[in-house]
Each structure stands twice: as structure tokens, then as C-alpha cells.
């Protein structure tokens, strides 16, 4: 049971990482990205393949994040001129495109059979329970770092400029912000976090296949961020934990309702998740922990650091 809780904690952490990534792209900068699953897949596949070739896991992870960032930067560079609704369609298409590659480039990805035997840190030396505990700790640390950096980014001048861009692109451009460059950078940064989510997933489960990267994942993450509060890093993490709780909780729901086949139980769960997202958006469009406007930046030279900590 404890092992199960640790695994659930790890998955919640992975969702939190994805929600943090989406928060940079959508929450802070206001660009839509419905291709989350695609970046998640890029991170997972790159890290899995490199570490199977013998690269140490941390290096493989960094390479995977770089790959996801590169792909994200390229995609946003290609779509710079697009309005939000067009961008939504293009990014959704991108996610499906990645899945298509993963399913068909069998020489590289082993097709729909997936890649198994992905190394995990010290997996051979530890008992399964110890491994779960170690990996949960690693995930929590990664999320904590990403959360901290997101918070720093938000209150930094750069983060303020991103929000300005979200609210009014033209005004930001008039104020002299390099809008195009910042959009590409923010998208790449968010994509790197999405990629890191994939890295954690691949090394924890030791198995990845194209089926894992379905658009349903995108829904889960949007649910996390919307539930927690768009634009708010803490909200992203809290939302991910809530969503994981719903996902796991609804697993028990299947046992309560008699006479369901396996497929029907799974269908019912997904229906519950989808309905919840709609209900939450309806009741609390800005999320449970809505973004509060940050305090005015303190003048340099005053007791800024001390005051900011409060």
C-alpha cells in the first residue's frame, strides 16, 4: 500500500511538472499548447533511447529537455504569426504528429510495442519499494526546483514582460519588448519542463509506448492547471495533486458499481474526468487559487530581499 502511495505521489509529481510547463506557456505567456503529449513524448523517448545506449541518466535527461525545448522553439517559431485558435489546432496536430512518428518509426521507437527496460536510478541495487521511495524523492525535488524557478521567473522583470505580452501583445511591443523572441523563448522553456515530465515518466515506469501519449493526457494537465489556477505555479502543483486524487479515487469507483466490464469502467472514469473539467471551468473559470497580481517590485537598494520573503 505504501509502495502504491509512493507511485501515486510520483505520478502526481509528473503531472505537476507538466502543469508547471503548461503554466509557463499558457498561464504566464498566454499561448495555447494542446500538444503537451507530444513534448512529453519527445522527452520520454530521447531520454529513454540515450540512456539505453549507455549515457548516464542525468545527461540523458538534460539532452531530452534540450530536445523538447528545441522542438518547442521551432514549433513556436513556425507559428508566431498565428492567432490563438489557429495555434490551438496546430499544436493539437503536432501532438498527434509526434505520436504518429513514435508509432511508425519502428527502427527507432520499436513502434506500438514500445520501449521496455529503460534504466532507472539504482534500480538493480534497490528493492522495488526502495526504488519507489527514491524515485518519489527525486520527483518531488525536481518539482520543487521547477516550482521555485517558476516563482522566481514570475516576479522577475522577464516574467512581468511575459504577462504583459499575455494581456496585450501590441502594448508589450510598443513598450519595446521583443515579443517574437520572448514568445519563442517562453514556449521553449515550458516545453523543456514538459520534456522533463516525460523523462521522469520513462525512467520511473521503465516502459513507454505511443499509446501513453494520447490527447487525454493533455486534458489531465489542463484540468490540473485550470483547477489550480492558471498563471500560478503553486496552483499548478496543487491542481496536479487534486487531479491525481480524482484519477486514483475514480479507480475505486469502478469497484463500487457492479456489472461493469473493464472497458466500461475505464470509459466511465474518463467521462468523469472530462465532466469535472467542464464543471470546474464553469464554476471557477480562474481556478481555485486564482492568480493574484504580484506586489509592486521593491526599489533596488532598499530592504527588498527581506520584504519579499514575507
Amino acid at each position: 500500500m505504501l509502495s502504491y502511495l509512493l507511485a501515486t505521489l510520483t505520478f502526481a509529481g509528473i503531472y505537476a511538472m507538466l502543469a508547471l510547463g503548461l503554466n509557463v506557456i499558457w498561464g504566464m505567456t498566454g499561448m495555447i499548447n494542446l500538444g503537451l503529449a507530444g513534448f512529453f513524448a519527445v522527452g520520454a523517448y530521447v531520454s529513454a533511447l540515450l540512456s539505453i545506449l549507455g549515457l548516464p541518466i542525468p545527461l540523458a535527461a538534460i539532452a531530452a529537455m534540450a530536445a523538447a525545448a528545441l522542438v518547442g522553439g521551432l514549433l513556436s517559431r513556425l507559428t508566431l504569426k498565428l492567432r490563438g485558435d489557429y495555434l490551438a489546432i496546430v499544436t493539437l496536430g503536432f501532438g498527434e504528429f509526434v505520436r504518429l512518428i513514435a508509432a511508425n518509426e519502428i527502427w527507432l521507437t520499436n513502434g506500438s510495442d514500445g520501449i521496455s527496460g529503460i534504466p532507472g536510478p539504482f534500480r538493480a541495487e534497490l528493492t522495488p519499494f526502495e526504488f519507489n521511495a527514491l524515485f518519489a524523492a527525486i520527483t518531488v525535488v525536481c518539482v520543487a526546483v521547477a516550482w521555485f524557478l517558476s516563482r522566481r521567473l514570475r516576479i522577475s522583470p522577464y516574467g512581468r514582460a511575459l504577462r504583459a505580452l499575455r494581456e496585450d501583445e501590441t502594448a508589450a511591443a510598443v513598450a519595446g519588448k521583443p515579443v517574437r523572441r520572448m514568445k519563442v523563448e517562453a514556449f521553449a522553456l515550458g516545453a523543456a519542463l514538459l520534456g522533463l515530465g516525460g523523462v521522469l515518466y520513462a525512467h520511473f515506469t521503465s516502459y513507454i509506448a505511443p499509446d501513453i501519449f494520447r490527447p487525454l493526457l493533455t486534458i489531465y494537465i489542463f484540468l490540473s492547471l485550470t483547477a489550480g489556477g492558471t498563471g500560478n505555479a503553486t496552483g499548478a502543483v496543487v491542481g496536479a495533486v487534486i487531479v491525481m486524487g480524482i484519477l486514483e479515487g475514480s479507480r475505486f469507483l469502478e469497484g463500487v458499481i457492479p456489472g461493469l466490464s473493464g472497458a466500461q469502467g475505464a470509459a466511465l472514469r474518463e467521462m468523469v474526468i472530462g465532466s469535472l473539467l467542464i464543471v470546474i471551468m464553469r464554476l471557477k473559470p480562474s481556478g481555485l487559487l486564482a492568480e493574484r497580481p504580484p506586489r509592486m517590485p521593491v526599489q533596488p537598494g532598499t530592504t527588498g530581499s527581506a520584504r519579499r520573503r514575507t
Binding site: 495555447i32 513556425l78 507559428t79 485558435d85 489557429y86 466500461q264 472530462g274 465532466s275 471551468m281
Partner: protein
């Protein structure tokens, strides 16, 4: 490979005509309500399954089943839109778009809950393909093509000559002015969703008749459907037809250079290429 060209062009035209039907539905909803409604994926599936239930369950011929596909998808479209999406519209196009993906997941799984995951095929008479100058074409393909063309003509005539069609175009052009002229935008929105999702459902069935269907059928077709609408220019109905032809022919002609498993990637590539040069699609957009 080049001797295959006439065959691929014929297949591409058939495919493009079939794709145009759901693409028209999608783009019409966009023109009037101004958000990309991703729930078309599940409505295509619902249409395909409603048609299947009428065709296999009740033993009705394909033409009649197509009416069932249209009506069921249209009714589900209006009901689900009223419950899930309309209250969200004031919060903006992207909020509504995300909710429409969630709606797709709910509806797709409702189909899975009822019908299961199995592949199902329509009950069609087995007939030999015709051969015309070396090009093979199935009688069913021809019938689907004619049905699609009939639907398309009906849409064009309705938009041009009926009161409802004119009101829809008025709301698409300028909602404020339309309201001033006494057109109820909510009612027009409802009617647009009814006819739009009906077309998506009918299109889902026509696309499914050629192959087998399962709950993911609609999702597999959304990329080409979106691509058709976006390539043509979101919100433009002639654009959707043109875009569907580009995507349909592109998918078939890509077989010369690409493996068949990448067919559905052609839609994505078409979107990226066209939008790079024309960010609002080939025929721009009337709305806005």
C-alpha cells in the same frame, strides 16, 4: 509508380469530397460562434455509430441510415453544447475550445461505454469494383460521393436562399449588427450547432462506411478535418471545400513518396506549410 497517378487522383477527389462534409460543419460553427469546436471528433464518431445502429441494428439502407447519423449527431450536438459549452463562451474562445476537448472525451467514452472498443463494419452488399481506363472505383464509393455532393449542394442552397441561412451569414459577418436587425444570435447559434454537428455526424458515417468504425474513429479524422478547415481559412465554407480537396488529394498523392502510415500526417504538414505563407488560410476568413 506514376501509372498509379490517375487512381490516386480519383481516390483523392473522393476522399476530399467526403472530408468536406464534416469540415463544412466545423467551419460553419467557427464562423458563427467563433471558437474551434474540438467536439467534432466525438460527433463524427456518434454519427458513425448512429448510422451503424440504423444500418446493422435496424437493417436500414445506407441512405436512410445517413439521415439517422445526421439527426443523432445534430441533437447530441445541440444538447451537449447547451449544457457544456454555451455558458463558457463569455470566457473566451480558448476556454471554450479546451472545454470542447473535455466534451469530446466525455462523449467518445459514452460511445465506448455503450458499444465497447470492438471494430464494427457496416452491412453493405458486396459488389465488384468498376474499372474505367484502368482506374478502379467501387459503386459504394460513387454512392458516397453522390451523397456528399447532395449534402453540399443542400448546404449552399440553404445558406444562399433560406431565412435561416441568411441569418447565419449575417451573424457570422457581424453579430452586433445582426442582433440590431432583430436576429436572435442564441437561436442562430443553436441552429448552426444543429446543422454543423449534423454534417459532422453524416461525414463521420460516410468516412466510416469505407472502413470499419470504433470509438476513436472521429479522433482519427479530426486532423484531416481541421486541416481542411484551416487550410481553406477558418470560417469560410468554400474554403473548407477547397481545403478538403487539398488535404484529400495531398493524402493520396503522398503515397507516392510516403509510407501509408503517414497519411494522416499530411494534414498537419499541409496546415504548417499553408499557414507559413498565409496565416489565415487560402481563402482568408469572412468572420472577423
Amino acid at each position: 509508380m506514376l501509372d498509379l497517378l490517375p487512381q490516386l487522383i480519383v481516390n483523392g477527389i473522393v476522399m476530399g469530397t467526403l472530408l468536406a462534409i464534416p469540415a463544412i460543419g466545423f467551419t460553419a460553427i467557427f464562423a458563427v460562434l467563433r471558437f474551434p469546436n474540438f467536439a467534432v471528433a466525438s460527433h463524427a464518431t456518434i454519427g458513425a455509430f448512429a448510422g451503424y445502429a440504423a444500418n446493422v441494428g435496424l437493417g436500414l439502407p445506407v441512405e436512410v441510415s445517413l439521415v439517422a447519423a445526421f439527426l443523432v449527431a445534430a441533437v447530441v450536438g445541440v444538447l451537449s453544447d447547451e449544457i457544456a459549452l454555451r455558458p463558457l463562451r463569455p470566457h473566451g474562445a480558448l476556454t471554450t475550445a479546451i472545454a470542447s476537448i473535455a466534451l469530446t472525451i466525455v462523449l467518445e467514452n459514452a460511445v465506448r461505454f455503450i458499444f465497447g472498443n470492438d471494430l464494427r463494419g457496416y452491412d453493405l452488399p458486396l459488389v465488384r469494383d468498376w474499372r474505367i481506363w484502368g482506374v478502379r472505383i467501387g459503386p459504394q464509393q460513387v454512392e458516397n460521393l453522390l451523397l456528399a455532393l447532395a449534402l453540399m449542394s443542400a448546404v449552399f442552397l440553404a445558406l444562399r436562399y433560406t431565412r435561416i441561412g441568411k441569418s447565419m451569414r449575417a451573424v457570422a459577418d457581424n453579430p452586433a449588427l445582426a442582433e440590431l436587425k432583430g436576429i436572435d444570435p442564441i437561436m442562430i447559434g443553436r441552429l448552426t450547432v444543429f446543422f454543423g454537428m449534423g454534417l459532422v455526424g453524416a461525414g463521420g458515417m460516410l468516412l466510416g462506411v469505407g472502413t470499419s468504425i470504433d470509438p476513436l474513429t472521429g479522433f482519427r479524422f479530426i486532423l484531416p478535418i481541421f486541416a481542411a478547415a484551416v487550410v481553406g481559412g477558418l470560417g469560410s465554407i468554400p474554403g473548407a471545400v477547397l481545403g478538403a480537396m487539398v488535404v484529400g488529394l495531398g493524402e493520396e498523392l503522398s503515397l507516392i513518396v510516403l509510407s501509408p502510415s503517414y497519411r494522416s500526417a499530411v494534414g498537419f504538414l499541409a496546415i504548417v506549410i499553408v499557414l507559413t505563407f498565409r496565416p489565415r488560410g487560402l481563402l482568408g476568413e469572412r468572420a472577423y
